[in-house]
Amino acid sequence: MILMKIEKNTWVQIHKILLNPAERTANLPEDTKKVPLEMWVKGYLLSSANIGDIVIIRTRTGRIEEGTLVAVNPSYMHNFGHFVPELLKIDDIVKSAVFGSEKDA
């Protein structure tokens, strides 16, 4: 696979392990104890690199952070989800109660 070099000054997202499981605070539930505390942050890449490299970025407030390069021009992909047909049934319940059902009309 040929890796495309990502240019300096590109807007990217990095990932970093802040605390390994052994370094985490006491009083955590068992499942959380087993996993690290992770961080994601975005900024401008300070020197060209490949996905997966340890890189340094300058964030929106001008801070410097270091971590593994995970995304380039990271996008917002959240949406309204798959259609939930139960919502139509709620509409029928409340509208017929207030305005009468079509059968009543």
Partner: protein, 472 residues
């Protein structure tokens, strides 16, 4: 280079807080466990008039109080003859950034700018992040928002992902973390590194910013109805919303208005559990925050929280997730206003409570929030389904948080469950005297104020717990 280890940083907490909030909390400490709450709030230096002026200049406040005529008609279909109070909603989604949180952020950001800070930081996965980012943008302040966002699979809660987008849209830097209370470590590290203002949800500035909301509700109702509301329902998480609103109402009228707290029931889900994180459909306004913060307000990110909900609540009720989603859809199709589900927790509770009240009474739902991709009830219900939650119609009382979301099959199945306030008072006192063997009169007066319990209630609880009485 200071020691950045977890323990060392936590050890510098008080010093970092003093610098980043600009308040020396130690001056308010009294007795063994008491502190001077009213002095902490009045020393913030902002009067209600001044807060109104600041908010008026920053796109905040004076939102409309709307009568929900069709929702009221729906409640009356499931009420005894002559019952079903008129339901009104304060449409707080119309504040800049889309929620009542703008009121809290406005004073924090104004104060940060006035005090010469170059930026603000807030630790929040909720609407408060967007509110701080929006207000910071107006004042030219830099802004960092720290979120708990992803589980260990890297799956983000869609509602929190949307908040991150909104924060970034307003120009903030967003730090996204996986699940765990060590978020506080990152928060402290950033405060120390940047010297920014801690726009804590629990500072006096944040809580005083909400007083205008309670004040407006009373004045709006007087204007529209010629009288005050009989009850106001307020979603409760960290307690600031309830505290500020109740304080504002007290400044607007002497008439007793029933102050009702409402949270979504998430019993059984652990808030620090990586597994449970994406099995809940509400990231705030739930019992996982509500109850711990009522019984131990100072668990917050400042030494003394200005949010003290037990001082002001007359009643505390829970509703289920399915009921809130149902009412969110009902609001959309009956009133023609599409709002976010988290803001409709108080609507679901008010709907159930209105049915217990005579028709001539007025009940106010104290907020709404914006909706959109990720934080829409459709997005949240589908996300729940994708995470293995059983979404179906039935009786909401059978809902098991983390396993099912039960949409009410019948309107009359939308009910509230009351939380015993005396039980919360017991827990409050138990938490307050933890690690202490004795209290004095100042402490007892303080516990009475905090819990609104009688002196007999407080002293008998202390005696049973083996806590000694000292002379002052």
């Amino acid at each position: 280079m200071p020691d950045m280890s977890y323990q060392a940083l936590i050890g510098r907490k008080n010093e970092i807080m003093k610098k980043s909030v600009g308040i020396d909390y130690s001056q308010y400490e009294r007795g063994n466990i008491a502190f001077d709450y009213e002095k902490l709030l009045s020393d913030s230096g902002y009067s209600l008039d001044e807060i109104m002026r600041i908010q008026h200049q920053s796109g905040v406040g004076n939102t409309p109080l709307k009568e929900l005529r069709n929702i009221t008609a729906l409640a009356r279909k499931a009420a005894k003859p002559g019952f079903g109070a008129r339901i009104f909603v304060k449409d707080e989604s119309l504040n800049d950034s889309g929620s009542f949180k703008a009121r809290r952020a406005s004073i924090s950001c104004y104060h940060a700018k006035k005090s010469g800070y170059t930026g603000v930081i807030a630790a929040t996965s909720g609407n408060y992040g967007a509110a701080v980012a929006s207000q910071a943008a107006k004042y030219g302040l830099k802004c960092i928002i720290v979120q708990e966002c992803f589980d260990s699979r890297g799956i983000g809660q869609p509602e929190i992902i949307e908040k991150a987008r909104a924060c970034e849209a307003y120009g903030a830097e967003v730090i996204q973390l996986s699940v765990g209370p060590e978020l506080f470590y990152t928060f402290l590290r950033l405060l120390e590194e940047t010297g920014y203002f801690n726009a804590s949800l629990y500072s006096p500035f944040s809580v005083k910013g909400i007083e205008t909301l309670g004040y407006e509700i009373v004045k709006d109702s007087l204007r529209l109805n010629g009288r005050e509301p009989d009850a106001v329902v307020i979603t409760n998480a960290g307690g600031g919303n309830l505290t500020g609103t109740a304080r504002g109402m007290l400044q607007a009228t002497d008439k007793k208005i029933e102050t009702i707290a409402a949270s979504v029931n998430l019993k059984g889900l652990h808030m620090a559990s990586d597994h449970d994180f994406n099995r809940k459909s509400f990231t705030t306004g739930h019992t996982g925050f509500g109850i711990p913060f009522v019984t131990l307000p100072d668990r917050s990110d400042v030494p003394r929280s200005a949010a003290r909900p037990l001082r002001y609540m007359d009643r505390y009720v829970t509703v289920n997730q399915g009921e809130v989603f149902f009412m969110t859809e009902a609001l959309t199709v009956l009133e023609g206003i599409e709002r976010g589900p988290a803001g409709n927790i108080s609507l679901a509770a008010a709907f159930a409570i209105a049915r217990e009240m005579p028709e001539d009474k007025i009940i106010v739902v104290q907020e709404t929030e914006y909706t959109g991709a990720g934080k829409h009830h459709q997005a949240q219900l589908d996300f729940a389904r994708q995470n293995g939650i059983d979404v179906r119609f039935g009786d909401p009382k059978d809902e098991i948080p983390g396993e099912s979301i039960i949409l009410p099959a019948r309107i009359e199945d939308i009910r509230v469950e009351d939380i015993d306030l005396d039980g919360l008072r017991d827990s409050f006192i138990r938490n307050a005297v933890k690690n202490h063997t004795s209290v004095n009169d100042t402490d007892i007066d303080y516990l009475c104020e905090e819990t609104r319990a009688t002196r007999e209630f407080v002293t008998s609880f202390l005696e049973q717990s083996g806590i000694k009485r000292e002379e002052d």
